[in-house]
Amino acid sequence: MIFKVMAIVAGLGLALAGSAEAQTPRKGGTIRMTAPYGSSFTSLDIHTTQRAQDEIYAKGLHRSLYIWDSAEGKPVPELAKEVIVSGGGLVYTFKLRDDAYFHNGRKMTADDVIWSYNRIMDGSKAYPGARYVRIIEGAAEVEKGKAKDISGLKKIDDFTVEMKLTEKVDPGFYLFTALTSIYPADEAAKDSFIQHPIGLGPFKFVEHVPGSRIVLERWDRFYKPGKPYADKLIVSVMGEAAARDVAFRNKEIDTSVLGPAQYVAYQADPDLKGTIVEVAEVFTRYMGMNPAFKPFADKRVRQAINYAIDTDLIINKLVKGKAYRATSWLPLTSPLYDKTMKPYPFDPAKAKQLLADAGYPNGFEFEWTTSQNESWGLPIVTAVIPMLDRVGIKAKVKQVEAAVLSEVVRSGDYQAYVYSQQTGPDPQAALKCFHSATPQTACNYMNFKNADFDKLIDEAGQTDDSAKRGQLLQKANALLYEEAPVWFFNYNKAVMAVQPWLKGVQLNATELTHQNVEDLWVDATSPAK
């Protein structure tokens, strides 16, 4: 299934892509990226951390079985030369590359792949990548301590691995993130690995200054001829948007993620407008409603909330246009996004009518759990409250930390919450979260149960016809719109400023900061050595 990403590009985004193709990449130079999501990297063991922050450096250091191809908008094999599907779509045979060398000079073999996946499934360590590797038969048994090795993984020879899946899914969607990076089995077991990680990526580890930066340099034995282009990659930790702004204007960094306020400022500045690159990321922001709370058990109440909120106003005024209006669950860059679907219009009268029909003519009161997040948290909740109040619904705010919110969401200990959830790139996985068999602790956070929806998802999982699967999933997405288990708020618009000398930036809808760095290059105007 090949599809084109519906990347929304503005400013230099198109120019960047175009010019990168037109010009001959220059060898040498230093790429200076920033990690904007906190004040440090969590760990140099990328298996242990699911933060987007850490994957920025990991794209240079490590490689997984698949890689995300932003131009195609899908995962493609990276460490395998050939993938043969058999067994009714459940058995994948990977003919591995025989030219992939770890940074210690040893060639990657099938043993490394099997060792890495077994490691990720060690349940006592709760590696976050386990949720992806769990698609391999027998992986869950290893996770629960009932088996030592994943039974669904078989070494055929040094460069061939057979993988048996538990269900008919494209393993590429599961095995492309850095959480499932392939480690060198001999080195990664040593304690020293965490201080000096070794991977298969285009750059090798040089230095980590905790809380400040990671420095990588070109790995000359990288398997893609002529790549990487740059000599060095520096990823600086810069959690403060204002500090990034100064550093970017001062030409000290090559990339900077922009928040809503900066987005407006950069658009208004003729010198900076051309540096903006934007893409609709596969994240849906929403207010989840707990059906165990009586008013929310009624579909009409949930729909009323969607009608009562002037979502466009909030996106334009509060989020400064740095988001796309959500029409249903699957985001704009999903291959199954339905362009014909229209969002719930702002219609307070209809909201009142629906509330009256549901037996709440005078409204009701609920508690709304939120974090401080500026794009979808407390500021949004504060703006929505008067809108709900106008139709008689009173919302009380319960503010919690981000770490607590994720716990609240999974435990179901809420009446309503506002959240940003990954809804791609695999539409099947994103929709499966609403299947009644999916536990709340996994991703069915609203404990959604609907027999018709389950049927559609089950049928989509069983069919070998990809077109039919797509239709079934789109129907399921439309059913979610009708059932309105959430207030459909927005899809994230990721915005990054990129210096004009940095070329080859990819519009990665899974996370814009995650760049296949071997494709990046800097021209001679870069001020970095």
Partner: protein
């Protein structure tokens, strides 16, 4: 003096224990745990295994006892998040934090003390008024805002200094964070010095010295300065502790690789061993500095004895 030193060292033990207990108690009641931040999707069985592995399934008092027993051997535990020994993590961060704090304090002392002194010698004059406006401003400025202003001026507009980072271990990278952090103690020291000098200038022993015909320079040097130093030293000692706390904001703003940013991230991710280790190091540093200040009192003022 040795017995004084031993006694003071022994006195630190209950302080450290109290801090450790407090942190333990806080983190046992604060909602959110490392397990929930590790993965968006894990089943309860796996979470239970992980809690067991991390020792989080034990009652708080058992965990506290285990931690204290390890601490007695110098083992700060292993980070839940990075799986590294906490001592290793702190060791990597300690030097940048010390660089930042000592540089900030040096700026504060070198600028603040003379400023306060000069202001006190001509109370109500132009220098005094200007110095006190500067001091009040320094105390009032939010560090985050001041840091951004300095970045904007010295990095972006003048191009003299880098706006962020650690470079090859400080150097020119240290200047802006150190100034940002040092402005507040500088202002406080200027005010404290001024107040102390003004008070001492009217003291009986100063009047006596003058009446004996001692020159004003000698009066200031031998009587006023030495006596003011005790109060200045006390302020410096307390400010060291405050700087450790305030460094969190500055380190984050300037991407400075210190203990402050480690502490913030560890708290947000509920990495209890790393939080405890970081706080403990801050407390030990504060106690050590204050012990040093106490010892210096005796050097400055011979009337102070270590009884």
């Amino acid at each position: 003096m040795l017995s004084f030193l031993i006694r003071r060292l022994l006195q630190t033990i209950p302080t450290v224990l109290a801090v450790v207990l407090l942190v333990f108690a806080l983190f046992s009641v604060v909602p959110g745990s490392i397990v929930s931040t590790m993965s968006d999707d894990s089943d309860p069985q796996v979470e239970a295994r992980m809690k067991k592995q991390l020792g989080l399934d034990e009652p708080v008092y058992i965990r506290f006892g285990t931690y204290i027993a390890k601490l007695a051997t110098g083992d700060f535990g292993t980070s839940f998040r990075t799986r590294e020994p906490v001592t290793t993590m702190i060791a990597k961060r300690a030097w940048p934090t010390l660089q930042l704090i000592f540089a900030s304090m040096a700026i504060a002392v070198v600028v603040g003390v003379p400023l306060g002194f000069v202001a006190a010698l001509r109370p109500g004059g132009l220098v005094d008024s200007a110095a006190m406006v500067l001091a009040v401003s320094g105390l009032s400025l939010a560090k985050f805002w001041l840091g951004l202003l300095l970045m904007y001026l010295f990095a972006l507009k003048l191009g003299w200094l880098p706006s962020f980072g650690y470079g090859d271990g400080g150097g020119k990278y240290l200047i802006l964070p150190a100034v940002t952090l040092g402005v507040s103690p500088m202002a406080l020291l200027a005010r404290t010095t001024r107040a102390a000098v003004l008070e001492i200038m009217t003291a009986d022993f100063v009047r006596t010295a003058r009446s004996k015909g001692m020159s004003e320079t000698r009066v200031v040097k031998w009587h006023v300065m030495r006596n003011a130093l005790v109060l200045i030293l006390t302020t410096v000692g307390l400010q060291f502790g405050a700087l450790m706390g305030q460094a969190v904001v500055v380190e984050k703003l300037f991407s400075w690789p210190g203990i402050g940013s480690l502490l913030v991230d560890s708290v947000l991710q509920r990495d209890i061993p790393a939080v405890q280790g970081s706080i403990l190091v801050v407390v030990l540093f504060f106690l050590a500095i204050n012990l040093l200040i106490d010892l210096l009192y005796g050097v400055i003022d011979p009337r102070i004895r270590y009884a």
